[in-house]
């Protein structure tokens, strides 16, 4: 690698914003009292409180997992605060008060002025009323019987659906972080698409407008009834900062017979400074259950967080169900990511595809961890896994941990892996055509990720590509 790349790798990436939140905050520590308090503040029904308490008690018996290939100092769970209701966000008066770096990033991402304001916590003028946009969308959705609301609202308005499906894919006992989330989750989103309905819009714009209030222990539940279709977009390309270092979200997807859920994520949480100080620990449990002839497709672009621990998975429960995982994970500086997927083939003729692209720069460590499990009854199951790593510079690392277990002999799995370095020759070739080093790297990396980007909803694919460019421009090259 030439010195030019090294220099760019060492360049600083600056962004972030913290809104001034005047909140109603509990004292630190986690006890049964705290769990009860959270539930009562939300006026939850008894059964949900019971569920939280069971989760809490289970959590007490569990230990934090240390098998991921990431290193961090011990987390003191009793030092964290578990409830903090944003009472009033003091809005800034104009964009002039916002970190110019952040605005520059928004601008590069092509985010509209109004949205920039919403994301940065600036008071929005009368021309644009987010509530009315939200309402228009909600009206359109409810015409089709689609329910899309906050988790807390759903608990009150659709208790039967929540009670039926909450924990049906990720039980509270699933793992340490899922148990913690189940005990103390703050809020999140709920989405229900009725039988045979094709959700009339990408659930994206709406989400982004609301994205600024993402919590620390988020809970998302999406249910697609028989024959339904939904494309859901989580997150935002705009960098987001959080005052909470530990994030442990749970996402459950239920795809009933013949339905399709496409779940796309762009994660750009604050990654910390060059030394990794202050970045988010993102420990997420995401899983979907696909019933007969259903399809669940996860697409993720992960560029943020100091530590990412995340394995969006699919239980291919029904015959002929399909699971897909398309992932781009970028690490830079001291970022660490241990991410991948699990495809559990239960039904006959189930199919799964895994395309993982890991990019490591700086001193970043990127691990792909995937498990393909074919159970005895999953006759004729198929899996295709392709796992490519790209290294930028000499100080980063890429690791792959594929586990394949096949318990019948009518199934086929195929695994391909590659590791490449961005070559000086590739960069020079681009430069010899007039492209800067930064532009060259962004182009080469986008090309490397193309198979994943093409799975994202169109407008978002462009944003993700730009995001990658910007991330690399600032932090890699």
């Amino acid at each position: 690698m030439g010195s030019s790349i090294e220099t760019l790798v060492n360049k600083e990436y600056q962004y972030g914003f913290v809104t001034d939140v005047d909140s109603d905050t509990l004292a630190p520590g986690l006890t049964e009292e705290v769990v009860r308090l959270i539930s009562s503040k939300k006026a939850e029904p008894e059964w949900l409180l019971e569920w939280r308490l069971k989760a809490y008690r289970r959590w007490l018996t569990m230990t934090e997992p240390h098998w991921p290939n990431v290193k961090y100092p011990p987390i003191d769970y009793q030092a964290a605060r578990y409830y903090s209701a944003p009472k009033s966000v003091k809005p800034l008066q104009s964009l002039d008060e916002v970190d110019p770096e952040l605005l520059a990033t928004y601008k590069k991402l092509g985010i509209s002025l109004t949205e920039q304001k919403m994301l940065a916590g600036v008071a929005v003028d009368a021309i644009f009323d987010s509530v009315s946009v939200g309402t228009t969308m909600k009206e359109e959705l409810s015409k089709h019987g689609v329910v899309f609301c906050s988790f807390s609202e759903a608990v009150h308005n659709h208790p039967e659906l929540i009670q039926k499906y909450l924990g049906s894919v990720v039980p509270y006992s699933d793992n340490f972080f899922a148990a913690l989330n189940s005990a103390v989750f703050s809020d999140g989103s709920f989405c229900y698409i009725p039988k045979g309905v094709r959700c009339p819009m990408e659930l994206s714009t709406y989400f982004r407008i609301n994205a600024a209030e993402t919590g620390q222990f988020e809970r998302t539940l999406i249910v697609a009834d028989e024959g339904a279709y939904v494309s859901y977009l989580e997150g935002c390309t705009a960098p987001k900062r959080s005052t909470n270092q530990l994030h442990a979200a749970v996402v459950e997807l239920v795809a009933l017979d013949r339905s399709t859920i496409k779940y796309s994520t762009v994660q750009n949480w604050y990654a910390g400074d060059k030394e990794g100080v202050g970045g988010i620990y993102n420990f997420v449990t995401k899983r979907g259950k696909a019933h007969a002839d259903a399809k669940i497709s996860w697409t993720q672009v992960e560029t943020g967080s100091a530590i990412t621990w995340k394995y969006p998975s699919v239980i291919l429960q029904g015959d002929n169900s399909v699971g897909e995982f398309y992932s781009v994970a970028v690490v830079n500086n001291k970022q660490q990511a241990d991410t991948g997927t699990k495809m559990i083939h239960v039904g006959k003729n189930t199919k799964s595809t895994i395309i993982s692209k890991g990019i490591s720069a700086g001193e970043g460590q990127n691990s792909y961890r995937g498990r393909v499990q074919v159970l005895p009854k999953a006759e004729g199951a198929r899996n295709y896994t392709q796992c490519d790593s790209m290294l930028i510079g000499n100080k980063c690392g890429a690791h792959t941990f594929p586990y394949i277990e096949v318990a019948n002999n009518s199934s086929m799995t195929e695994h391909e892996a590659s590791t490449s370095k961005i070559g000086e020759d590739q960069i020079f070739y681009c430069k010899a055509r007039g492209l800067s080093t930064e532009h060259a790297i962004s182009l080469i990396v986008s090309g490397f990720c193309r198979e994943v980007f093409k799975e994202l909803p169109m407008e978002f694919a462009l944003e993700a590509q730009q995001l990658l460019g910007i991330t690399l421009e600032g932090s890699v090259g």
Partner: protein
């Protein structure tokens, strides 16, 4: 346009160019010939700015400016173009997108706006005919899985689109069959103008039947051992390089 003055260059510890001087004026075509390993590609790469070579002494000016002081992309933006002997593959990036990015970078450097994508398509349609390339190639990844000949044609397509002032073709002829050679050199000739110049690096005199040089230089052991007119190429064809290399 280009003035190379007593250039010495090395890769690592190995000195490859040992004092080369060459002046190229607008409107001229120069051919650089010589045996394998004599330093032809190194000279081409040094002009384009490859970071793998260190210029230890001598100077190069381009349009009166110090070329060695410019980053490779700046050289390209100012009209220097190298058709690579071994074009590089960029998986996942389409040829069309790559070309448009390059085209827009050069426009930007000249204070112009990005080209309208539709206008660019029109431009491509015209240029692609010049090199007789299948338009489907535009939507394939840059050079990935291209045959040797396709890669060379693709270099000429890039040249046709970017319209450089100084084009250096490094063994663009090797690996081409006669038909392809005719097409490629036809393309090069079509782009020739009074205000641009071409340096053709080649191993064989064959190409010079199609691209007629004003000057021929023989490079051996990192030095220009002989210069002459186009008839020198014919002499080399008949006598080989040995008599020159031995003399040097």
């Amino acid at each position: 346009m280009l003035k190379i003055d007593n250039i010495h260059a090395r890769a690592g510890e190995k000195e490859i160019l040992k004092g080369i001087s060459l002046t190229v004026n607008a409107g001229e075509v120069h051919a650089i010939m010589g045996p394998n390993g004599s330093g032809k590609s190194t000279l081409a790469q040094v002009i384009a700015g490859h970071p793998g070579f260190e210029v230890t002494s001598g100077s190069i000016t381009y349009g009166g400016d110090d070329l060695l002081d410019m980053d490779p992309e700046v050289r390209a933006q100012k009209g220097v173009f190298l058709a690579f002997q071994y074009p590089v593959e960029i998986p996942g990036v389409t040829n069309a997108y790559f070309l448009r990015s390059a085209y827009n970078e050069i426009r930007k450097a000249n204070g112009q706006e990005d080209i309208d994508p539709m206008d660019f398509l029109d431009l491509m349609e015209k240029k692609i005919k010049l090199v007789d390339m299948d338009p489907a190639m535009l939507h394939r990844s840059v050079n990935a899985g291209f045959s040797g000949g396709e890669k060379k044609r693709n270099e000429i397509l890039q040249m046709a689109v970017l319209e450089p002032k100084l084009a250096i073709l490094d063994e663009t002829d090797s690996g081409l069959d006669i038909d392809a050679l005719r097409v490629v050199s036809g393309g090069v000739n079509a782009l020739k103008r009074a205000d641009n110049a071409t340096i053709v690096v080649t191993h064989y005199q064959r190409l010079l039947n199609y691209i007629v040089p004003d000057f021929v230089h023989v490079l051996a052991g990192g030095k220009i051992v002989k210069s002459g007119g186009k008839e020198l190429a014919l002499e080399l064809e008949a006598k080989g390089y040995d008599w020159l290399v031995d003399a040097a």
